[in-house]
Amino acid sequence: MNENRTELLTQLLAQIECAWTDGQDRTLVFKLAQQHPEFSEELHEFFADLVVDPAYPDEVTNRFLEAEDRVAEWLNQSGFDVASSVAASPKDTSTSTSVDAATPEYGSNLIMFLKRQTKNALPNIVRRLENMTSEYLILVSRHPQVVPERAKEFIAKQIEDVWGISFGDSFHFLTANPHAVRAASRSSPFGPEPRTFEELLKRSDLSKEQMSFWLNLH
């Protein structure tokens, strides 16, 4: 499905959603499916998903639930940091309604530094680095004290190679311990912090190959 078709489909889904949630209209799906027969299956499935859960045999359901347990754990451990790291650029905060714009750690970790220096969002930064995921970079940035020196050096060297940012500048952010500041700025308890590099790697959504790469630098 090309992008235009995806966009059109999404607009149709949005119409079905609004008709249902706003006006309890269950029949718009028939009308749109008739107008766009090429999307008939997707439109009906979407409406059914809004209203009922498909039933699966217990073993399939259990498999899904176990996978979703791990996703929920990832969200609690580091997932929400993806949002704050991506969104917290100076441009974004200046356009937001000011509530508590200046958190103590703003601009004081590796990710904020990289975003400012490269003028890129986190996903674009991560894409250019080897064996990297957003979660891994976030966790390294938050817990440099558990990251081996060789791994930190590798990251700083890559940053230098890709963007010409001096090794020392980015390595500086990996020698500080932002944990205490972060914990102090948080009103609700966060998930347990990683105590070892292995724990940090497990939460980093790395592939097996990526994980063994970083373990070899241990």
Partner: protein, 296 residues
């Protein structure tokens, strides 16, 4: 105590917008402790995802309130039901079966992308159509990682093309939902009446026929396989149709019936049926009965 929102005389879509607007305006100040407490205590009906998204997009992304808002938006109840992500999770489950993908991988990629774009320009769309937004971002996340046709997927995960298009990977996985509740005689009459109205509104003749066979039997018929003497599986009633085609038709019809039962403000269904309806799925997307009562 919360006052009902006055909605008389408006078109449903305008009314929906106004309900969201009023729900949003009722939020405590976003930088207050009351807001954090409200996030903990408000019901799903009082706090639609569209309102949460709008609040989140107004907040500085690294603030405590922003994180608390996201945590509510992505909340999963102890019974493992996602409060606002039900339709997206259902879609991810289905796609993971059809495309032989890792469900955890697919879902976490989709959620990651939502977290990445929600505060940006794209997130505006979610203030109106949260579930369509979620599905769209899940698809985009998968494409970004694996390519438009899955060409970047590891070889062992690639779906082998089947020569037989009639084989559906969902075939062996989908089941007919349980359909048994204790009904008072009066409930049966009401539900049958609604079911007849729903049947009349379904334009697809095959879906209509499957629904008629499934809904008006003494017990919910099996789709296929051996069954007791005297009963016939649905596959035997529709010899030209595959099992998965019947399953999909039935799911389509069931969704219409559940929607109609939920949306009918004149129905005063017993607690047993309410419970059953709740069990059928993503109740967070349904109009709450309390809200409907205000429109009567």
């Amino acid at each position: 105590m919360e006052q009902p929102i006055e909605t008389e005389g408006e078109s449903p879509l305008l009314m929906g917008q106004r309900v969201y607007e009023e729900r949003y305006q009722r939020l405590p100040a976003l930088d207050s402790d009351e807001y954090l407490a409200y996030l903990e205590s408000a019901t799903t009906a009082d706090l639609p995802p569209q309102v949460l998204v709008r609040a989140y997009r107004q907040l500085p992304p690294k603030s405590t309130a922003a994180e608390a808002t996201l945590r509510r938006l992505f909340r999963r109840f102890p019974n493992k039901r996602w409060e606002y992500l039900g339709p997206m999770v259902s879609y991810a489950r289905r796609q993971s079966l059809i495309m032989k993908l890792d469900h955890e991988d697919l879902l976490s990629e989709g959620l990651r992308r939502i977290l990445e774009v929600l505060h940006g320009e794209r997130g505006k769309f979610a203030e109106r159509s949260w579930h369509a937004f979620c599905q769209h971002e899940l698809i985009e996340a998968w494409r970004e990682k694996h390519g438009r046709r899955g060409e970047r997927k590891p070889k062992e995960q690639q779906v082998e093309a089947s020569d037989d298009d009639s084989i559906d990977p969902l075939d062996s996985c989908l089941e007919v939902p349980r359909w048994h509740v204790s009904l008072r005689p009066n409930d049966v009459n009401k539900i049958e009446k609604v079911a007849e109205q729903v049947l009349a509104s379904i334009p697809d003749e095959f879906v209509k026929q499957v629904a008629r066979e499934a809904w008006f039997m003494n017990s919910r018929p099996k789709v296929s396989g051996k069954i007791a003497d005297g009963d016939r599986p649905l596959t035997s009633l529709f010899p030209g149709k595959k099992r998965h085609q019947i399953m999909r038709a039935l799911r389509r019809a069931d969704a219409q019936l559940v929607a109609a039962l939920h949306a009918d403000p004149t129905l005063d269904l017993g607690r047993d049926i309410e419970t059953w309806l709740q069990q059928q799925g993503a109740n967070s997307t349904r109009p709450s009965r309390k809200a409907k009562e205000t429109r009567k």
